[in-house]
């Protein structure tokens, strides 16, 4: 028995009494004598204390870290909401308040009442967005299902080439299309119509790809079983394939709608200011027009300047539907996002 103290700096400070085991080496198998020390004793009490301390510290640290990050992640939303409820003077005071002194609910009606020079107001724009959202989502999903079905289940000449070509376009930055599409739709006089907002975005290669892969995972034996049960092909698509891939379809539908809701560049580029979508609406300035702050400060600043509190009210209104959607469809959205990775 050789007593040896192994001092290590890590949290495993173990006082080890090490037994050196002389090893009988057989000549053929073991050319060299191998010595392995075996520790036969350690201080359990000390280990246990350290273990408890380490566990508590670790948990405390993890929760503090997560909470700080969560607060930081959530802060902008909180700030957005409380700013939208402050009065403009309160918002502008030098010591920012973390909770409104007085709730200025009037900010919301004030924002809704705004209309620009062309007379387009919130309701008009919301209607535009909802109509565009409805049609581009339904037609888009329909086209996606058809294409994905053909690519997954049918054989035709050039299928693989077509699919590869579609995938290849995912590499290309969308701005490259936008340019020519801008020229194309201008040439077709589509400005300020629903068509221009819907048609160019009906095909989304990524969703086709996603759904095709989903279709391919359905075993072929199901198709044969369906045939035996007397189901037609279209019946098979509707009654078997679509229900089986319903989660993916729901995800695609939701993400497509969110995409429409968030579209900003295209309407801004193509349409005149009288025909805009909801996100474009947020970027405009909201001024008071002497309703809430009639010459309060003895000058006319508030009547001409755009007010941040009103803007925050607008931002809240645009964000709210997305949150409602998220609350009800959290599972599908997160699932879809983790699969697709494209925003909207």
């Amino acid at each position: 028995m050789a007593k040896k103290k192994t001092e290590t700096t890590n949290n495993l400070e173990v006082e080890q009494i090490i037994t050196e085991m002389p090893v009988e080496a057989s000549a053929t198998e073991m050319p060299k004598t191998v010595t392995l020390d075996v520790s036969t004793d350690f201080d359990v009490e000390r280990q246990r204390k350290k273990q408890r301390a380490a566990k508590i510290t670790q948990n405390v640290f993890v929760y503090i870290f997560l909470t700080i990050c969560a607060v930081l992640a959530f802060l902008p939303f909180y700030w957005m909401v409380i700013s939208s409820l402050k009065t403009e003077p309160e918002y502008r005071q030098s010591n920012p308040t973390f909770f409104p002194h007085t709730f200025q609910w009037k900010n919301y009606p004030a924002v809704l009442a705004q209309s620009d020079n062309n007379g387009s107001n919130f309701w008009q724009i919301l209607l535009n967005t909802l109509v565009v959202g409805f049609f581009s989502t339904t037609i888009g999903v329909f086209v996606t299902v058809l294409t994905a079905y053909a690519l997954a289940r049918m054989n035709f000449k050039g299928k693989n080439a077509l699919f590869a070509l579609m995938l290849a376009t995912m590499m290309i930055p969308g701005e490259m299309y936008t340019l020519t599409n801008y020229l194309t739709v201008s040439a077709m006089d589509w400005q300020d119509t629903f068509t221009v907002m819907i048609v160019p975005f009906l095909v989304s290669v990524y969703y086709i790809y996603l759904l095709r892969n989903n279709f391919m995972q359905i075993p072929n034996s199901l198709y044969q079983a369906a045939k035996v049960d007397g189901l037609s092909d279209f019946g098979y698509l509707v009654k078997v394939m679509i229900p089986l891939t319903a989660p993916t379809l729901v995800s695609i539908t939701l993400l497509k709608f969110i995409g429409t809701w968030n579209s900003y560049i295209w309407p801004r580029l193509i349409n005149t200011s009288s025909w805009q979508m909801i996100t474009n609406w947020v970027t405009r300035g909201f001024s008071d027009k002497d309703i809430m702050y009639p010459n309060k400060f003895g000058d006319s600043i508030y009547s001409s300047e755009s007010l941040t509190t009103l803007k925050m009210a607008a931002v809240c209104m645009v964000s709210l539907p997305l949150f409602i959607l998220f609350i009800f469809c959290r599972k599908y959205i997160m699932r879809g996002v983790s699969k697709s990775g494209t925003k909207g």
Binding site: N11, V62, F65, L66, C69, A73, W79, R92, Q93, S94, N95, I139, V143, T144, L146, T147, Y149, A150, M154, N155, F156, K157, G158, L162, A164, L165, M166, L167, A168, T169, M170, P173, E175, M176, Y177, L179, N181, Y182, L183, T184, A187, M188, P200, V203, N213, Y223, S232, D233, F234, I258, N262, V282, T283, T308, M312, V315, S319, F323, F326, G341
Partner: protein, 446 residues
């Protein structure tokens, strides 16, 4: 078509990730060129007559979509209704049976039995039937031809037209002038040059993407190690994903914005307030984060730091990039075999060691996927900048990104510059992809 068959991706792409898809896509340039070349006539048309053609084509598309509901109904009705023995119905059904049975045994047997009895005409008919899949993909193909394939081709053509006017369709010959002017910054309109936009984009991307990936990794690992409240935290972290980048850009801007009034009240932005409170800024000194030319009544934004604006963008980018990265990394962590953690425990590894020596290498494919997609996305960022700095993207586009540059020249009507810019952006993305492929092929995967 023979060529395309050879490069077919069919057997292997069952579970291709986006990254792989991109790689597959990259391997297809020959095919792509072949296919796009189906419209060579259109490419040679002069712009003016092309305009007319496009108009006519557009009209057709309009028609197509108006009637799409009715047509598809008929189509399916004819194709699949059993009692209505139209020719198409029989054809379609046969084709679909043939197509959908992967084993294809029945079809093959049937074919060989029938082969000898068929006349040439019938053979042709059968060939047409077997191609009914095209009917399914037709809407998508037409739409893509007009709004994807043609634009790509057109970008390559138009970028080389000098002084191209979108109004008249006239241009002064061909050449590299657009590219030279864009790269030299000699566009004659002032504002940020393309190079400056490129540098901006690179700075935003190459700082914010690694930073948010690292933070996402730490958060996911922490999230993975707890049980109570895990779902709640997960939901909170995902929230920023759903926001509209423009709207949230505007909210972030208010954190940093310096606004004020003539009457003593002034708001230097919450960030300045916090820094002041922490004693990180001297008294009465505030940073003009957004670099706005201060409104005349503001006296307090007396410290202008040139890179302060970049910090604002990077903070926003990190914040908005986190949700997706956490979602991906967290699910990657949950799929790591728990046994490795058990083994690491037995081996006495500390939490820190486990994180860097076990966890990170285990999910490294996902990390590199996030870095690549993050960088690709970063190259295309635009709307966040508009949200933060307004449609002028700072002062005279000085915070502009490459995409911002392109849009600016579309709006200006200088299409040539926009086309040239978009081609350069495309080239940059291709280079990044190539680098990524090289790196990932060198990495020995286990």
């Amino acid at each position: 078509m023979a060529k395309t068959k050879k490069t077919s991706v069919e057997p292997s792409e069952e579970k291709v990730t986006l990254e792989e898809a991109a790689i597959v896509a990259e391997e297809m340039p020959v095919t792509a060129a072949d296919e796009v070349a189906e419209q060579p006539a259109a490419a040679e048309e002069t712009a003016a007559s092309f305009g007319d053609k496009v108009k006519a084509f557009g009209g057709k598309i309009k028609e197509f979509f108006v009637g799409v509901g009715v047509k598809t109904k008929d189509f399916f009705g004819n194709l699949f209704k059993k009692d209505k023995k139209t020719k198409e119905e029989k054809l379609g059904e046969m084709a679909v049976v043939a197509a959908a049975s992967d084993g294809q045994i029945e079809t093959v047997v049937a074919t060989s039995l029938l082969e000898s009895k068929l006349s040439a005409k019938e053979k042709f008919g059968r060939f047409c039937r077997s191609q009914s899949g095209w009917l399914f993909v037709l809407p998508a193909v037409i739409l893509m031809a007009v709004f994807t394939f043609w634009p790509i081709l057109s970008a390559f053509i138009n970028a080389f037209k000098q002084n191209y006017s979108t109004l008249t369709g006239k241009y002064d010959g061909w050449g590299f002038e657009n590219f030279i002017r864009v790269l030299k910054g000699d566009t004659g309109t002032g504002g940020a040059t393309f190079i400056q936009c490129l540098v901006n984009t690179m700075v935003f991307t190459f700082i914010s993407v690694p930073l948010s990936t690292l933070l996402a990794l730490l958060i996911s690992v922490a999230l993975n190690s707890i049980k109570p409240l895990q779902k709640a935290y997960q939901t909170i972290y995902f929230l920023p994903y759903l926001t509209n980048s423009l709207a949230m850009g505007a909210v972030f801007a208010t954190f940093f914005a310096v606004i004020g009034t003539t009457k003593n009240t002034e708001n230097v932005g919450i960030v300045n307030q916090v820094l002041q409170g922490l004693g990180l800024l001297p008294n009465e000194t505030f940073i003009n984060w957004l670099g706005t030319s201060s409104p005349k009544w503001v006296i307090s934004a007396n410290l202008t730091i040139p890179w302060a604006k970049y910090i604002v963008v990077i903070i926003y980018e990190v914040w908005s990039g986190l949700p997706f990265k956490i979602l991906i990394l967290f699910s990657a962590l949950q799929s790591v075999n728990k046994q490795y953690y058990d083994a690491a425990k037995i081996d006495g590894a500390s939490k820190n060691t486990v994180l860097w020596k076990i966890t990170t290498p285990m999910i490294s494919p996902m990390i590199s996927y996030l870095l690549v997609t993050g960088i690709m996305g970063g190259m295309k960022q635009y709307s966040a900048i508009v949200g933060l700095f307004g449609e002028q993207m700072g002062i005279d586009y000085d915070m502009g990104t490459m995409v911002g540059y392109i849009y600016r020249y579309i709006e200006d009507g200088h299409m040539g510059y926009a086309f040239a810019g978009s081609l350069i952006l495309f080239a940059i993305i291709m280079i990044i992809t190539a680098i990524n492929r090289r790196i990932s092929s060198k990495k020995v995967s286990y």
